[in-house]
Symmetry: C2
Subunit: 167 residues, 2 copies
């Protein structure tokens, strides 16, 4: 299966695409959709939506996962992040896909093994797991981490289903 | 000119369409796009986006205005509202329109004359100004109030421009 992971943000929305079969995962693509802070906010939302729609069209993922947000520094940043995450979710749903949601702690625990891992640790683990050297910034590696979290989660679910069928 | 006013919300997104020429405004349409709280949040965002897109296609407004949000009860409700407002803005921008933004106090002041008006007062004033009896709930009248605010604002701007050209 091909998985798309999304790390939404009003300034940069990270995306990461991986291929996974039963036991192996490999890197396909990743990057950041950057918006211009000096342009109208509604135009920036369009950049995020169009950017993700292009990524979906190009790489044809079969499943998508996005980081869920429960906390924010304040109401203002929550509002901004909500706008960005809203259009990111819409891009996935408008492409006919379901989207799984994982909290930041769940992502860190699934990928690094600790819910308290920092962004640097996440990036190094993602680089190691996917055998791919990441560039500067954490948007792409955070998105790949969400995709990896979804892969591990789906794999566990599949195994449980198989075990239940054999009983 | 034909104006679309939007009052975004994750449960109900109000819309109101008015026609305005130099001095007169008249009611065209209004309503609420209701989402099912029991369905996945991403599907509810699609309902808001598709609903507004349909309203724009049907009534072909030339300008749009939306209520801006600065405050919220808490981070959780700000996040939810941000998602809804994000896809509402995207529906307008994807239809090729610019969107003006007005704070709640500016809308109340422009329509009722007082920045402290409550929803009941807004609805009664909207009914009077547009000579149209509204149904239950305040989503449609709040959206019409945003459209009216934009109409008055544009009219003032046009008058100032005319006066400046004559000087």
């Amino acid at each position: 299966m091909r998985l798309l992971g999304i790390d939404p943000g009003s300034l940069v929305t990270g995306y990461g695409v991986i291929d996974g079969d039963r036991d192996n995962v490999c890197y396909v693509a990743s990057g950041g959709i950057r918006t211009d802070p000096s342009s109208p906010f509604s135009d920036r939302l369009k950049v995020i939506y169009d950017g993700l729609t292009r990524v979906i069209l190009e790489f044809q993922p079969t499943e998508a996962a996005i980081e869920s947000i429960f906390h924010s520094h304040n109401v203002q940043s929550a509002l901004k992040l909500g706008h960005a995450r809203g259009v990111a979710l819409l891009a996935v749903v408008n492409a006919g896909m379901m989207v799984a949601e994982y909290g930041p702690t769940a992502v860190k625990r699934a990928v690094v093994g600790s819910g308290r891992a920092d962004k640097e640790q996440i990036q190094r683990t993602v680089e190691m797991l996917l055998n791919h050297r990441m560039g500067k910034g954490y948007d792409a590696s955070d998105a790949l981490a969400v995709a990896l979290c979804h892969f591990y989660n789906s794999r566990t679910e599949r195994r449980i289903r198989l075990l239940e069928e054999r009983r």
